[in-house]
Amino acid sequence: MKKYIIIGASAAGLACAEQIRKEDKNCSITVLTREAYLPYSRPSISYYLKGAVKENDMYLRSPNYYIEKGIDIVTSAPVRSIDKKNKTVKAGRKAYSYDKLCICTGSKPFVPPIKNINGKVNAYTFLDLASTKAVKAKANGNTKAVVIGAGLIGMKAAEGLSKICKSVDVVELSPRILPSILDEKSARSVKKYIEENGHIVFHLGDTVTEAKSNANRITSVVLKSGKELECDMLILAVGVRPETELAEKAGIKVERGIVTNPETMQTSDKSIYAAGDCTVSVDMLDGSKRVIALYPNAVYQGTAAGSQMAGGDIKLDGAYSVNAIDFYGLRICTCGLINAVGEQYSDRTVRSGDKYKRLIFENNRLVGFVLINASENAGIYTSLIENKTDLSEIKTDIFDTPSLFMFDKAEREKRLKGEIA
């Protein structure tokens, strides 16, 4: 009976474990997680913070599910080291041997150099359930919160806190919010919408340089511009970096993240695979190497890794970013190369009211979209991007609500029969 070890129990780790089970009914699957919880939805933490979901509903699967599937989730088991030669990992006091190993360690928060924040009890990260619980325990109607970072994590934290706290200030070094998912124009309108609906105060193009404290509690932060913001709660959400420490120590090739074969997710060690935010991906749309720290990507990678580890034939088709998020009811769907620069790119944009629709083309292909409150059938655009469909073959204009009638009869029939997924 083969032994599979997976380090990390979030999106990639779980997808990997489930796929292994699909391919191999008789094997042992052990998932080691440093966290104290069974796999749960990381992106739900901001909804948990604002009370939109209960903790029970955050778990991705029921506890029974793991028993049924024979997936052994070992919680509170941080892995200390990987022994490539002997094919073992050490977690706590125990050593686990493996035939195939998958590293799904995800990312770690990037903590910027700020004076006087070390050891302060009211400085928090916002990345997992434990940190969210800590924030939720302390935040109340009198809290004046400062969030550093206006990326996805920072903005979701700010949205969650704005429902609880007295004030929320967001400090962002970049001149616009959500730079990873929004282009410049849409970022401005989203910012305006959030300001109006969430009473969040933005400090863009600025950064926190220093914290002032009373004993081990921060009382205010000083910005580079000289502004000083009162602060009872500081959320550090500048960004994340791939968690690659274990891999590095084990001698696995690491660049900005763990390097893998882009189809099989195999690392430089042939028994070891990696998936999820801890890896560096090659964006299929422009060939750039980068970390695509997005949930669907992690699942696709985990699934491919699991299949390959168990001898299956699922390969990763190629990574691209796709993201959907909402702020105060504003729905944002984005995909692909939204900030592409270059002569080969063109775009079409329509803005009306709080709707915004922008399609980005590279020659005859769709390579990206930003849809704000205009997400009808966005998945069809995604499939055009993913399949690198030559748009000259499509007779109708794809800009209005896309539908299967964009395609010719044969393609349409295939899709209606579910043959093209």
């Binding site: 939805s41 739900s44 979901v53 509903d57 955050m58 991705l60 959907a324 998945g379 093209i420």
Partner: protein, 146 residues
């Protein structure tokens, strides 16, 4: 598994499937109340695309390897191993619409949560199929894993 398939050569573009889908997924289950008075207005899980010359109703394909399930960031979207039906757990769904962004058929609709076809699980036949006046929708098993 049994799924709903559209025969575009028979679709009348009458869109009664939408009317009856809304009704089936309403509080009152009454065609008039559901479509005229209920608030919030029920969302149709099936949509007719096209024009009078060529049209077809599209609803969830309940794919063998559903992208929406893979992409769901909360575990709300699941494919039932027995029935093969892909459905949304509204308690878990946070309405992020990642599923909608990856569905290659455009079958997921926006509501407070993701809204999609559940094949009218409690009925012997989905409402859209039952009420299609020209049998342009059929509920049959053309293969495909559950």
């Amino acid at each position: 598994m049994k799924k709903v398939y559209a025969k575009e050569e028979l679709c009348l573009n009458c869109r009664l499937c939408e009317v009856y889908c809304k009704t089936a997924h309403s509080k009152t289950k009454d065609v008039l109340k559901a479509n005229k008075y209920e608030n919030p207005t029920p969302v149709s899980r099936i949509t007719v695309y096209g024009d009078k010359m060529l049209s077809a109703a599209v609803n969830c394909r309940h794919c063998d390897n559903p992208k929406c399930v893979q992409a769901c960031i909360t575990g709300a979207m699941t494919k039932d191993e027995k029935t093969g039906i892909v459905s949304v757990n509204e308690k878990k769904c946070i309405g992020c619409m990642t599923c909608l962004s990856v569905c290659p058929f455009g079958c997921i609709k926006t509501g407070k949560f993701a809204v999609k076809c559940d094949l009218c699980q409690d009925e012997d036949e989905p409402a859209c199929v039952k009420n299609c006046p020209n049998h342009a929708l059929v509920y049959i098993d053309l293969g495909g894993a559950k």
